[in-house]
Symmetry: C2
DNA sequence: GTGATTATTTATCAATTGTTAAAGGATGCC
DNA sequence: GGCATCCTTTAACAATTGATAAATAATCAC
């Protein structure tokens, strides 16, 4: 689970004790393509770190499957609207590409916050970064049209297209699959 | 500045020492309509609490004025993408309705984090709430059409329409002013 | 491999939103 | 009060996106 510690150290230096405490509440899971890591309706009690593979947060709107976000290698994925409120989430987490996921027990993590302010600070910084990324994405949805958003995504995650079915990407961009297909053909 | 302390206590109980430390880095400002509280280009070093009136975060895209968000009474407003990274912001803050604003010095606040973990926790919780609100807004932009978004806004902030020019609301919803005007007339 | 299932593209038409310009209202300054 | 400025609406047309259906391509299970 070195990748996780490296990820953490990117935010903040952690001594051995902190590292041990964090590893003690973390568990490596191997998951196959299409597996549901967290079903819709559960309250989020786990923060996931993607060591390998790709996962997505999804939900249903009028029966249609919507992808809220993707997480590839070296990214955290969690349904924060449930994690921070401890209310049931209307969203689930699914594996899109066979994955190695480190599951961090949130209940135990929050207990560590009381004991180790440095760990609370670490996760404050991690989620502040997530917050900033969400604000940037909001801006993209607010003021770029579908083609611009598609090109931006291509630029930010060039390998995503090779690894993720287009149907997931369409809803992520806030458009239909047919519309994405049209945009793709107009670009060539 | 009781409104600020009440706001804080909504997240977490604070003893007298914490309260005093927080008040010591906070300053009440009176601002007129249309005043620029923070100009575009500056790095965010202040977190604002709106005690009275309304403020907005704005920026320019292709020379067009865009409203990213509004903050009315009892809300925090800050350009988090600059606050958390300490890089210059491409966004500014403007007063839309004559306001009483409490300016919290972020540099001093971050210093308090080191001294008082409880204060760091307080602001962790405040920004976690902001994060959740941003995720919800992302969802709204991703999967509701302009009319639905307008009606949702009407529901969430019924008095906003009476207090804020429509031109600001249009860009907040991610549409043009003409389009908003059309939607409004089709609803009546 | 073969057939079944799933994913993607293409086509057509409808609905929504953008663009530009002009007209009507409201507001503020002197 | 009157003029200038700013805000909002309306209109006409263009561009974008959605909805539905069908065709093609890719993938998976056996």
């Amino acid at each position: 689970m070195n990748a996780l510690l490296t990820y953490f150290q990117h935010f903040q230096v952690l001594n051995k004790e902190y590292q041990d405490q964090l590893l003690a509440i973390s568990k490596l899971q191997h998951l196959k393509k299409n597996e549901i890591l967290q079903p819709i309706g559960h309250t989020c009690k786990t923060i996931y770190f993607v060591q390998k593979g790709i996962a997505r947060i999804f939900y249903y709107k009028d029966g249609i499957d919507i992808t809220e976000c993707f997480a590839a290698e070296n990214h955290i994925i969690a349904r924060v609207e449930s994690l921070f409120t401890q209310r049931p989430s209307q969203k689930g987490i699914q594996i899109i590409e066979a994955a190695e996921i480190i599951a961090i027990n949130a209940t135990q993590l929050f207990a560590l916050y009381d004991q180790y302010p440095a760990i609370e600070r670490l996760f404050r910084k991690i989620f502040e970064q997530g917050y900033v990324e969400t604000v940037n994405r909001l801006e993209s949805l607010q003021f770029y049209n579908a083609e611009e958003r598609y090109l931006n995504l291509l630029h930010e995650m060039p390998d995503l297209l090779q690894r993720v079915p287009l149907k997931y990407i369409a809803s992520y961009l806030g458009i239909t699959q047919v519309s994405l297909s049209r945009i793709r053909s107009s670009i060539k």
